[in-house]
Assembly symmetry: C2
Homo-oligomer: 367 residues x 2
């Protein structure tokens, strides 16, 4: 595997330095030490991840005046306002200050709730993400979105708060269960559809190998997908326009997750179905059959989980409650071809309802 690559994401409060690859932690060592030197460091993680990687990270924090480990429940269960409040109370009790440091160690959920704690604690302290899942390395850790779920809607309370560092070390992926690799690959496919037809080609050729443990190709695929996210976020930090492209598959995906009950349908699977539905919406607008087939085939090889039976109207209600929605209506990201997509705000709601009903029937009954 090649050396880690370093990216600088410039945003309106400064710069996020991102290392991705085989020796990311080694490459980050000097800057990480300087950053925590003489300060309290809080490492937010979940018990299983801390078991695997906690010692290794804490060794890198020996310059800190104190290191406090705080655990949250793994997955969506940990992404609550109560959890954020508990973290903040524990940080007050441990003597946390405005110049304390926080690190999140884990997957996207740990990063989201830990980053939100960093955003709100004393109105914001500096933090770093150390993502340990494929999904977090290519997507969740980049871009400064933090937050928690409300029972009614996913990620509906949160903040934009850019990390100072992202350290996406490929070695953490070697301990990942195959299922989490599969989930993360949906976001890699998404990035390829949006912006990188060469990556799409590579995925078509290497998908089987990528799903094997300790795949040699995983590192370069992670770097390529992360680079797309970094480029889009750099251009448009607050999602006014270009950043909305990253929501490909997420308009329906989030609603599927919400209606299934948080945690019942994995994020990757939900986005997979969302991308398949985006293809259905894009076809009448000119997406070529050949490209539609390639997207369907690649997403299909990742075998998105069978959907439970959904009421289309509930899904549409959930979509219109989603934070991405505006009062002017739903936004959709639709592929133009493999490697390019567009944001569409004016789709006919009746057409969406009709296509959604037949889409759901297809997935529930025939697969």
């Amino acid at each position: 595997m090649p050396d880690a690559r370093q990216f600088d994401l410039v945003h309106d409060r400064g710069l996020t330095r991102i290392w991705i690859g085989a020796d990311a932690l080694d490459r980050s060592r000097a800057e990480l030490s300087d950053w925590v030197r003489g300060r309290r460091a809080f490492v937010i993680s979940s018990a299983p991840v801390r078991e695997l990687h906690g010692e290794w990270l804490e060794r890198e924090l020996s310059a800190a005046s104190a290191v406090t480990a705080l655990d949250v429940a793994d997955g969506e269960a940990g992404k609550t306002l109560d959890t954020m409040g508990r973290l903040a109370r524990e940080m007050v009790a441990a003597g946390g200050k405005r110049d304390s440091r926080l690190l999140t160690l884990g997957g996207g959920s740990v990063g989201d709730v830990g980053g939100f704690a960093a955003a709100c604690f004393l109105r914001g302290i500096e933090y770093a993400h150390v993502p340990t899942t494929l999904l977090a390395q290519v997507d969740a850790s980049i871009g400064g979105k933090t937050g928690v779920n409300l029972p009614e809607a996913k990620n509906s309370v949160g903040a934009f708060h850019q990390p100072r560092f992202v350290i996406a070390d490929a070695r953490t992926l070697s301990t990942l269960p195959r299922e989490l690799i599969r989930q993360g690959l949906f976001e890699v496919v998404k990035a390829a559809i949006l912006a990188d037809s060469a990556l799409f080609d590579l995925l078509e050729v290497r998908l089987r190998e990528l799903l094997e443990p300790e795949s040699e190709s995983l590192g370069s695929v992670v770097e390529a997908a992360a680079a797309i996210k970094i480029a889009v976020v750099s251009a448009d930090e607050r999602e006014a326009d270009r950043r909305r492209l990253l929501n490909l598959g997420h308009t329906l995906g989030h609603a599927l997750e919400t209606c299934a009950g948080h945690g019942a349908l994995a994020h990757g699977d939900a986005v997979g179905h969302g991308m398949l539905f985006a293809v259905e919406l894009a076809l009448p607008r000119g997406l070529r059959d050949r490209d539609a087939q390639r997207i369907r085939a690649l997403v299909g090889r990742l075998a998105p989980a069978r959907l439970p039976s959904f009421d289309p109207d509930s899904l549409i209600r959930a979509m219109s409650r989603d934070k991405k929605a505006r009062e002017t209506g739903l936004s959709w990201v639709l592929p133009l071809r493999v490697g390019a997509a567009e944001v569409v705000d004016d789709l006919d709601p009746a057409l969406i309802g009709e296509l959604l009903a037949s889409f759901l029937t297809g997935f529930v009954e025939s697969r």
Copy 2:
């Protein structure tokens, strides 16, 4: 009373337009209507304030597609993470979107928790403050600080989120109980000590009249104090340096509030004692006796509430937990003379402990 004055506070996300004075709401009418036009508006208030001013404000929002009233408990009791979460859930249920609008109507606490809900709901929506207390008009509504209390420490979870508008209409002050005028005047005195010796002179002459109902002078005093806050915040939005001056009286003040139990000691009274203690710390550093006497006399005429018996060590622990503290130690704002102050980071902790013990003895026993 003169017409409302308009200020533009430029910050790193744009501009906050602030109207202060007798006809602030009239002056803001056109822009306020444009801002809510066709959108959902949420008005966060407390039952007693809504009773007085709710109808009046809602009439101004007739251009909105819908207006949803949400109440929080008055005072510090409403400033909790649970309250913020409930507001967010009610906003989801009412169909709140990223382009919905939020207004806070009330005192500093309503503004703080309502502003924090605006900061976090869907990762941030636009909002406006309509402050109805003297304290909120001269201080809390200006500068974008939002947040809630944890049981362990005041304002320890929150966000910087600048309002789009602040509409500080002097007519709302005419219904204020005398006690809330008195509380707010502590912050006016603070502003005068920091930056405006002419305002200090005026306060010395007019203090008695200012404490009467419907004082003619209140409007100009509010404008002068708010102008100081606006100038300081404009120069330094995130409190790296100059904005810390606004903490005069707050280092000890917040600790007094925390140790007394949230809500047991009013904020103004606590800041009053904090300013008196700042005078004690400033004397050995060269504050002239004449200026010390003037500050003591003016604060004394506002009659800060008697303090319950405090353990100095508990206060020092509470101060070091305060969000203003850094890992390098406590910061103090000390008057240099009437009209100027400095931030001091290197005071000897032993000296502080000693002066604090004798300061507390004086207040508990002899007054």
